[in-house]
């Protein structure tokens, strides 16, 4: 009986989706996007769209294999841009009515009168609601799988990781939509409020990412300032030690007089506490925001799991290095670590401010992305979802209709 009922509920969910034009519209858009992938290819110089060659110093086969390029496109355009934004919003529009319609007077009485427990009914209906996104992602992944196989030459089954990951991502939003649907029984209200909550999640995530970057930047600043002070102390000691015969000591003294070097050292020492204080401040605020985020679903990090699963860390690093090399060639601004060899050290140069695109900062942020545990990303998100669903299910179970 359980199987018969569950099958009926899923079949009904499919029929409901099938009756919605939006479902087919989204599917068609997914098809268009997959088709667009097929028009793009990568070569040694850059990209080719149909017959149009576009040189690109980062996106070329010197940095990235053809297979990885398609995976990169699949993750960043297909999943991060389309499935978790465009298609997700359309999916919410489509599915926001599921619970309000289900609970509407005249509809719910009949379903509740059947020999099926309310909790089972609730959770089956909830899972059936995720069918919209699951079907969309399956079709999108299958299309991408074929494109990468045919054009990139690799049959990457890992693409189907997008199915559980995108469904998990969507479920963080759908659980809220479900709770609001149970509370308000209004499609419009639950849709608008869910979008609002999603905006809050994204805003908190973005602010936390910014804080994390500032934390890394400020820590890097302190590190560089300390290295700078250490080099200045060594340079002064070398000059004072009468190593005037030594070539590099003379050169150091020639670059900047000893009193001026001592003055610069004092200035560097005076600047250190402020940098340390700034770093401590960012560290403190980031920790607080991190704690607050701990209880919220990790939407961005969940979709980033796909990148982690599909694109090898070293390949991403290669792209990053290529991108950094390009920046270096273009003349990077900002702080650089002082040369380790005193012979190359110029005491007249002032330690600059560390920029966000500092290679070490980017490397650290990239490292962190790959180091985040599945428990932190999925465990805490599912815990949030579980609590929201438990509240919705409890209300559904107790309510008189």
């Amino acid at each position: 009986m359980v199987l018969t009922q569950t099958r009926a509920l899923f079949l009904d969910a499919y029929r409901e989706l099938n009756a919605k034009r939006l479902f087919w519209f989204v599917l068609a858009l997914s098809g268009v996007l997959v088709g667009a992938f097929a028009l793009v290819s990568i070569n040694e110089e850059g990209l080719t769209i149909l017959t149009w060659d576009i040189p690109n110093p980062v996106l070329n086969t010197q940095n990235l294999s053809s297979e990885s390029f398609y995976k990169f496109m699949f993750v960043n355009l297909g999943v991060k841009f389309w499935l978790t934004w465009g298609a997700a919003i359309l999916a919410l529009v489509s599915t926001a009515s599921i619970f309000p319609d289900f609970l509407a007077g005249g509809a719910i009485e009949l379903t509740l009168s059947k020999p099926i427990g309310r909790l089972r009914l609730f959770f089956t209906k909830y899972l059936a609601g995720l069918l919209f996104v699951a079907l969309q992602v399956v079709v999108f992944s299958l299309g991408s799988f074929l494109i990468i196989g045919l054009k990139g030459g690799a049959w990457e089954f890992g693409l189907f990781l997008a199915v559980p990951i995108v469904v998990a991502f969507f479920s963080y939003l759908f659980c809220i939509c479900t709770l609001l649907g149970v509370v308000t029984r209004s499609t419009i209200a639950s849709l608008i409020l869910t979008l609002l909550v999603w905006f809050v999640f994204s805003a908190v995530g973005t602010v936390q990412a910014l804080f994390e970057m500032q934390k890394v930047v400020s820590a890097r600043q302190v590190e560089l300032n300390r290295l700078d002070i250490a080099q200045r102390e060594k340079a002064i000691e070398a000059v004072k030690a009468g190593e005037s015969n030594n070539g590099f000591a003379a050169a150091l003294a020639a670059r900047l007089s000893l009193p001026d070097q001592e003055r610069k050292l004092e200035q560097a020492r005076a600047a250190l506490p402020a940098a340390e204080e700034r770093a401590a401040g960012w560290r403190k605020w980031h920790t607080r925001l991190w704690a607050a985020r701990l209880v919220l679903p990790k939407t961005a990090e969940t979709t980033a799991l796909l990148e982690r699963g599909l694109i090898a860390k070293d390949e991403l690093q290669k792209m990053l290095d290529a991108s950094q090399g390009r920046a270096e060639r273009a003349g990077r601004r900002g702080a650089k670590p002082p040369p380790e060899d005193l012979a190359d050290f110029d005491p007249s140069e002032k330690m600059g401010r560390v920029q966000e695109d500092d290679p070490e900062v980017q490397n650290q942020l990239n490292e962190r992305k790959y180091e985040r545990s599945l428990w932190w990303v999925l465990g805490t998100s599912f815990a949030f979802e579980g609590m929201v669903l438990a509240l919705a299910a409890w209300m559904f179970k107790r309510r008189d209709f």
């Binding site: 009922q5 009926a8 009904d12 319609d101 005249g106 379903t111 009168s113 020999p115």
Partner: protein, 373 residues
């Protein structure tokens, strides 16, 4: 196996805001009968059915349905239900509606395949099987709703206003279906305020008013002691006065063999005796009393005389006496109250002739406190 399909005691429901929808219902529905639950809007009929179908949680409830405690989900596999104002998903066809709800009742696919066309045929909807429900009229939806309630071949079927919105031929068809279902041994529980419908098909009925059972039993049991003979008479010539003043009725009353006394015009509503006509509760009685043979007799303005008996013998004596006094008898008719008469009598305050407040209401002063959820 218990003899009752439904055997419930002390069913109460107090909604938030302390609205007492049900105040302690005791009800028994025998197996294989058609049972009608009647009552005005807001009397608690749908609430009671929803409690039985686990749609609403009762504040208090004891008893069984099909031998299982009320609220037992497994028992619902043997129950069919058609809610009032039901709304089927618009994207389903009639056949899909039956298939879907049959599946939710746990009916295997093979059985559903054979039962869907048979039930659609039963409610005369076979030709609309593949049409989406959104294209159905209200009557067609009701027909499909009734068929849906029978998908699991239930032992008990509860129908909440099944003929609501259905045209007369459709009502007749639904009545026929109910009688067929009963003939197969299924118990049918019908909620309705369309009293003639219930009277035509029900073996037993119960009336709900203000969340309590006003009466229950067979139509014969309920009308027992309420059958009567109604006379329409003209006062004797010279018995004079305008109709309704009481004076002509005094002449009529004095012609009746028995002890009759005038009912004061301003009889207090607290008067325990009946002060309104049984024929038309809006008319106040002018006289009442008993015949020499012991039957109750009442006289109302307009020359209305009622003798409460189903025995024609005492009526003959009244006819003879009236004629002897020159009273012109226009008509004499035996009267068996209809369900509607019983209903109206039950909901009318006999002391005022006004329809009482009969829906759910706040807790009554002095009533035992029901433990709200």
């Amino acid at each position: 196996m218990t003899d009752y399909a439904i055997d419930i005691r002390d069913v109460a429901k107090v909604y938030k805001g302390k609205v007492h929808a049900l105040r302690g219902i005791d009800l028994r529905v025998g197996r294989g009968e058609i049972f009608g639950l009647l009552g005005p809007n807001g009397a608690g009929k749908s609430t009671l059915v929803k409690i039985l179908m686990t749609v609403i949680a009762p504040t208090r409830c004891a008893g069984h349905m099909l031998g299982a405690p009320v609220g037992d989900k497994h028992a619902l596999a043997r129950v069919g239900y058609l809610p009032e104002h039901h709304r089927f998903p618009d994207y389903l066809t009639g056949a899909q509606v039956l298939d879907f709800f049959g599946a939710l009742s746990g009916v295997p696919r093979a059985v559903r395949r054979s039962r869907v066309p048979a039930l659609l045929e039963l409610v005369d909807m076979r030709q609309w099987a593949s049409t989406k429900v959104k294209g159905y009229s209200k009557g067609m939806r009701q027909r499909v709703g009734v068929a849906q309630a029978l998908m699991n071949d239930p032992e008990l079927v509860l129908l909440d206003e099944p003929t609501d919105g259905v045209d007369p031929p459709g009502r007749r068809d639904i009545r026929t279906v109910l009688q067929r279902v009963r003939a197969q041994g299924t118990t049918v529980f019908v909620n309705s305020h369309i009293l003639p419908e219930l009277e035509m098909v029900c073996d037993r009925v119960a009336l709900l008013r203000q969340g309590e059972v006003g009466f229950q039993g067979t139509i014969d049991e309920l009308t027992h002691g309420q059958r009567r003979y109604d006379f329409r008479v003209d006062p004797p010539p010279g018995g004079a006065g305008g109709v309704g003043t009481g004076e002509p009725n005094s002449a009529i009353a004095s012609a009746i063999p028995g002890r009759l006394e005038a009912v004061p015009v301003n009889a207090a509503p607290t008067d325990t005796g009946r002060v309104t006509s049984r024929i038309d509760p809006r008319l106040r009685l002018t006289h009442r009393g008993v015949l020499t043979t012991g039957e109750v007799v009442e006289v109302a303005p307009g020359g209305l005389v009622s003798v409460l008996t189903d025995d024609p013998a005492p009526v003959q004596r009244v006819i003879d006496a009236l004629r002897a006094h020159g009273v012109v008898i226009r008509s004499v008719a035996p009267f068996r109250p209809s369900l509607e008469d019983l209903f109206m009598a039950a909901v009318t305050d006999p002391t005022t002739g006004q329809v009482a407040h009969i829906g759910a209401g706040p807790e009554r002063p002095g009533a035992a406190k029901a433990g709200a959820r």
